[in-house]
Structures are given as C-alpha cells and as structure tokens.
Symmetry: C2
Subunit: 228 residues, 2 copies
C-alpha cells in the first residue's frame, strides 16, 4: 500500500480492490475503515476514497501554539465571544461557583491556511477586572485576549483524549458531525491560580499533535543520579 | 444522560432506548457509537452496553511516566526483547541506516492494576556499546533498559495521534483489533543525538493522556514583555 499508491490518488472501487487483494468485501471494508482512522485514506463524497496526505504536525505547547493572550497571532481566528453564567460542569472545570460570569472566546486555529482546531477559551470574569465593556463581540474577544496577555501565565497543564465533533464544532472544522477529534484541555495558571481553561478539538484525520519539550534536563539528572 | 444513569449500570436495549428518547433506531445507534468513542459507554459481549467509569488520567511526560531506563519501575511490564536489522521505516524514524541492528523492547504500561498501553522501545545497538550478550530475553530487556538509564536523556519530544490497534497490540491491550488508540511517539535525545524512540499505543476508551508541564515561565515572560 505504501509503495503502490501515491498521495491524492483515487483508489479503485471496493469490488476491484477486494479482487486485487483476494479478500472478502467485509474484510476490505474493515481495512479501509482502519486506514481512514489512521489518517492514511480520506473519503470524499462524489469522488471516492483517496490516499491522504501525511498528517500535519501541530505544536500544542510552548510559544508555537500561542499563549491564549497572543491577541495579534495570525494562527487563530476569532469566531465569537460570549459572557454568561457558568454551567455546573464549566464551573467545576474552572474552579468557580456555578452561575459566576465567564467569558468564552471561540476561535479557530489555522495552520498553513487550513483549519485544524476549534477552541473554546473560558476565562472567569473575576480574573479580568480591568476588562472594558465592549458593545461589539469582536472587540470584546480582543479585549479578553489582551487582558490575558497582560496577566501572563506561569504554569500550564494539558490533557489529550479522543472525542467526537458535535454538530457546531463539526461545522467549524468543516467535517461531518461525529468525526473523531483529539480533545486538548489546557489549564493556564497565573500566580498559582487557574486563570483560564481552553478546550480545543483538533481534527484527528489530518493532525498529529506535537509536544516539543524542554526543561527535561531534570529527568536526565534524575536518571543519571539514580544509576550512580 | 449524565444524571439518569450511573457508572457500571447496564443500559436498556436499543428498542427501549429509542422509544424512551423518541428517536429512530439509526439515530440512537449513532449516538451510542459517539458516546462509546467519547469513553462514556462501554460495550461488553454477552452483557450489553454499560455506563463507563470516567477515563483515567495517565501522565505521559516527566518523571511520572518513567524515563525508558527506569528499569526498576513497577509501572511497566516487559513482554519481550528482540535485536534485529532495522526496516526502512524504522531506520528513518531512528535516523540510522537500513539494516542497522536495533534492540526493541516491548512492554506494557500498568496503571492502577490495569494495562493502559503497549509500547515498543527502539534503541540502535550502536547507542549501547557496553551491552552484554544475554541468552535470555528478559535479561536482555533489563540490560537495554539499564544501559539507557546510565546514558540518561537530555531532551525529549513527543507526538500524539489517532490510530487503531493492530492484531498483536490489540491482544496485549485486551481489546478487539481495530480499537481506536492514541499513538504517542517519543524521541529521546542524549548529547544532541537520538538515543531511542518509543511508540506507545494507549487505549483511547479508558485513557486521558496528561501533560504536566513546567518550565513555562518562559512563555509568561514572553507574553508580558510583548505586552509592555
């Protein structure tokens, strides 16, 4: 498979493929499903099944990913900004009381001109006491991001898990609802307190999340001293 | 759903559920598939569909995850160890010539008594010049891990992407083949050179990968100075 077909090429239909590889249709279909999940095939309605381009490595930590307050970053495009009382679930995530006002900036992450992720960035209103009142949504989004930038962040932790894109997210990512996504949840702390939580859904078909890590000399030292 | 059912509870059958929620069987099945991918439902043959326990957070970086050389770690169980010439693909990954000898330690990661990941740890034989010749596989595995521990690591980088468990891996993870997994690829560097590459497949149904990150004060400083 790796050598026989090249990127962008349309595969023969299932009947031909099952004949060529000498496998049953059901087996073939299962194999195609797996290759699609692995990002090696892509199905396009009206065209057929194509060999996918290799996944794009998308940095999710450090400076490359952009601290949420990087308001002038070209990598993110703001969709909207709302301020509303926190639901029970969101309140738990943010460590605030239910019903407390929370700013939510929704934005898209663009890499090489392609939308790779949709993000909801939640910031408790109390964390941004100097936020001006904005009538216009885009101004408010910019205000929230700029205030975050001013605060700065001195700690972050992340989790990555498998999820599926709900209808609205799916539309933002230009994928059908139910598409597998990698859900990255990032907690940003400032002065030892949670300042913001970002929930980002990355397209699992086209993305590979990369973590360039520094500060690991500590690990080396530990390993060496444990051995000596 | 969040309130109506509790962990471990068996769901009513599809017919009952579709009647209760007033949706078509096809719609219901799609919803159940999504909830399964999100790790909120688990299907057990002969029992039915159960409400899943919340996903376990599994640290994948820093000291908690265990540097590959942590030979005495209880978190990993060695499956086998082979030494063989690198295939073209593996050679590319390791940055060595095709056909060069590579040690591969396969092991399982155990968290709270549960197997969460299967890993193949690849180490070019040239990186471990002082490795003794072992007749017994388990001794060799231990030898490779101990040598790595002695070398130490001064840099690591990771990627996370969606994959599916192949037959052998699936068996190690006690899941059916084709199960979605989170594939974590870690490159370990020592003295500026690649010393080892670990390819770990984590069960996507039960795991949430966590990245506790330090050394991010740098990001804060950047953000603040950019704002001033």
């Amino acid at each position: 498979m790796d050598t026989e077909f090249s990127t962008g090429q349309v595969l023969p239909n299932e009947r031909e493929l099952s004949a060529r590889f000498g496998v049953a249709r059901a087996t073939l279909r299962q194999a195609l499903d797996q290759l699609e999940l692995e990002g090696r095939l892509v199905r396009r309605r009206g065209i057929g099944t194509l060999i996918a381009a290799p996944r794009v490595g998308v940095p999710v930590n450090g400076r490359d990913a952009g601290w949420p307050g990087a308001a002038r970053s070209t990598a993110w495009r703001v969709v909207d900004c709302t301020t509303a009382p926190a639901s029970a679930a969101l309140a738990r995530t943010l460590g605030v009381a239910e019903g407390e006002q929370v700013h939510t900036v929704r934005r898209l992450r663009i890499v090489q001109g392609v939308t790779v992720a949709a993000e909801s960035l939640h910031v408790p209103a109390v964390a941004l006491p100097h936020l001006a009142a904005f009538a216009e949504e885009n101004d408010r989004a910019r205000g929230v991001l700029r205030q975050l930038e001013r605060i700065g962040v001195d700690g972050e932790s992340r989790s990555v898990e498998l999820g599926v894109a709900e209808a609205e997210e799916a539309a933002l990512l230009e994928r059908p609802p139910g598409t597998p996504v990698l859900v990255v949840t990032t907690q940003y702390a400032t002065a030892g307190r949670l300042a913001a939580v970002a929930v980002s859904t990355y397209r699992a078909d086209t993305c590979k999340l990369t973590f360039g890590e520094s500060g690991t000399v500590e690990v080396a030292t530990t390993a060496v001293s444990a051995a000596s």
